[in-house]
Each structure stands twice: as structure tokens, then as C-alpha cells.
Amino acid sequence: MVYYVAALSLILIGTYAVLTKKNIVKIVLGLSIAETGVNLLLITIGYVKGRTAPIFSDPSFRPEKMVDPVPQALVLTAIVIGLAVTALALAIVIRLYDHHKTLNIEKIRQLKW
């Protein structure tokens, strides 16, 4: 149960940061927090109490005693996608700072948001 709480609060806090923060680095941070939250939620859903990781490192391990492997595979993909988005976002942040000499979104805003 407590994992659900953790995942949900990460999603909500991250989204809150994206929606209200003025500093663009903070906005990107918020995005990555929310992503971590979604990943945690996915893994939590795949967990089964009292079972082990889906690796047959010992022949005595039984498939009935393992947790769901699919969410783990999905989260691996999601983490890497998140890293890619973050890296691109930060490159754009550097560009924006270069043009405007500020990280405050209200001072950057030229186009209508």
C-alpha cells in the first residue's frame, strides 16, 4: 500500500512543479520526478507478495514463485526514454539561457502561452 502512496505523491508533486514553477530547470526536474512516480507505480502493480525476482539463477527456483516480469521490462524502456527527454530538454534550457540570460519563464515568454 505504502508504495502506491509514494508513487502517487511523486506523480502529483512532479506535475505540480511542472504546472506552477517559474524556473525552467525546476520544470524539467518536476517532469523527471513525475516520470519516476509512474515507473514506481508500474513496478508496484507487477509485485506479488512473497515472490522473488524473475531470474532463474538457481535451478531450484520455480516460476510460480516469481513476480510479474512484464512491468519491469516496460519500466526499463520508460526510464531510458525519460533520460532522453531530460537530456534534450536541458539542451534547450541551455539555448534559452543563452538567448535570454535568465531561467525565469515569465521573463522568457515572448510567444503567447
Partner: protein, 228 residues
């Protein structure tokens, strides 16, 4: 005003999610007998990989992984495009102390070795191409931090990146030629729990490891080299 609006919408999202997740019990087996349980039951025998997560990532859902590799490649390409004319001399960094320098020199080969170990053993132990690649990239990060003039050859990075990506797709196409479908595991599976087993899985993971490692190093390098 904006904050109130944001909080209100978050309250709605939170409420919906909480009331939905109450219906999803924690820690109970929700596996689909036709999908997840079959991976667990047949995975080792049919893919040769002891680590079922690796079997799914590289084999069952290998197409996702190809997409994922593309996403990273895309990020590296996009980053290079966005920061294109900002390259130049790196900002003056404060030189690291002797301790950091010598520690980096000792650790760097070990870190790269660890990364290589992780992606070669991806089908046996936790870890795989991505983890190994990221570990290698952190090794390069350490070198960047320790030495002011440390530099990686861009031509080499690009060549490794390009070749590794090509290898992945070509392995997939070979599956099409020698097997029945794209990414088909056309090599013999061997005995489980040995390094040379699981057919193409280790080969693909090595390609992914090299690709991720060189891409992330390239991203770090690009970010570090931008003039302020």
C-alpha cells in the same frame, strides 16, 4: 491564480487515481496466464535466457527495445543539433585534486570493465545493455571531472554508435533471413546459465551496451563542451 488552478486540477487527478487504484489490490497476483505466466513458465526453455526480464526486453518485446535505442540515438542527435554551434573550448574548470585524479585513473578501467561485465552477462544476472552502457558512460564522466583536458574522439564515438545500431538492425534482419521473422532468435540457444547461450540475446545486448555507452558519453561531451 495559476497555482489555484493547478492545485484544483491536481486534486481532480489525485482523486481519480486514488479511487482507481483502490480497485487494484497491492501484492496480489494479477498475471495473465496467457502472457506473463507463460513468459515465466516457458521463457528459459524457449529463449535460453535465465533472466526473464532480459528475455522479454531483448526477445519477446525486442521491437520496443529497438525503439528505445532509437529514442536515445534521437536524443543524442537532437542534442547535437540544438547545441550545434555552441561548441568550443570548455569552460575553465577548477582542476581536481591529486587524490581525485589518481583515483579516477585507477577506477576508470574498473568501471568500464564492470560495465562490460554487466552487459555481457545480461541474460544471466540482473543488468544488461542499458545498465552496462550507463555504467561505462559514468566512467567517462569521472574522467571528464578529474582531468581538465580530457577528451574523447568524436569520430570514434560516432563510429561505435553507428556500427552498434547497425548491428542491432542487421541482427534483426538476419532473423528475417534465417528464421521466420524480424529479430527472430536464429542462433542455437545452448545450455541455460552459460555465457555463450541464449542465441542472439547476448550479441544484441553487447550492441546495445556499446551504443548506449557511446551515446551517453557523446551527450555528456556535448553538454560539457558548450560555451557558456
Amino acid at each position: 491564480m495559476k497555482k489555484v488552478l493547478a492545485l484544483a486540477s491536481l486534486a481532480v487527478i489525485g482523486f481519480v487515481l486514488v479511487s482507481t487504484l483502490r480497485l487494484v489490490p497491492f501484492g496480489v497476483n494479477k498475471m495473465n496466464p496467457q502472457v506473463a505466466e507463460r513468459y515465466l513458465r516457458e521463457g528459459v526453455a524457449r529463449t535460453g535466457s535465465v533472466n526473464i526480464v532480459t528475455a522479454i526486453v531483448v526477445n519477446y518485446r525486442g521491437f520496443d527495445t529497438l525503439g528505445e535505442v532509437t529514442v536515445l540515438f534521437l536524443a543524442a542527435t537532437g542534442l547535437g543539433a540544438v547545441l550545434f554551434d555552441k561548441r568550443g573550448k570548455r569552460t575553465q574548470r577548477t582542476p581536481a585534486s591529486l587524490i581525485v585524479k589518481s583515483a579516477a585513473l585507477i577506477l576508470f578501467p574498473l568501471i568500464v570493465l564492470l560495465g562490460a561485465y554487466v552487459f555481457v552477462h545480461g541474460h544471466l544476472t540482473p543488468g544488461g545493455g542499458f545498465q552496462g552502457g550507463v555504467i561505462i558512460a559514468t566512467g567517462f564522466l569521472l574522467m571528464y571531472m578529474a582531468f581538465r583536458s580530457y577528451d574523447v574522439s568524436h569520430t570514434w564515438l560516432m563510429a561505435i554508435e553507428s556500427l552498434a545500431g547497425t548491428t542491432f538492425v542487421v541482427l534483426g534482419l538476419l532473423g528475417l533471413v534465417y528464421g521466420r521473422s524480424f529479430l527472430y532468435n536464429f542462433l542455437p540457444l545452448g545450455t541455460a546459465n552459460a555465457v555463450f547461450s541464449a542465441g542472439v540475446i547476448p550479441l544484441i545486448y553487447v550492441a546495445i551496451g556499446l551504443k548506449v555507452g557511446s551515446e551517453l558519453t557523446g551527450i555528456l561531451d556535448h553538454l560539457m563542451e558548450t560555451i557558456r
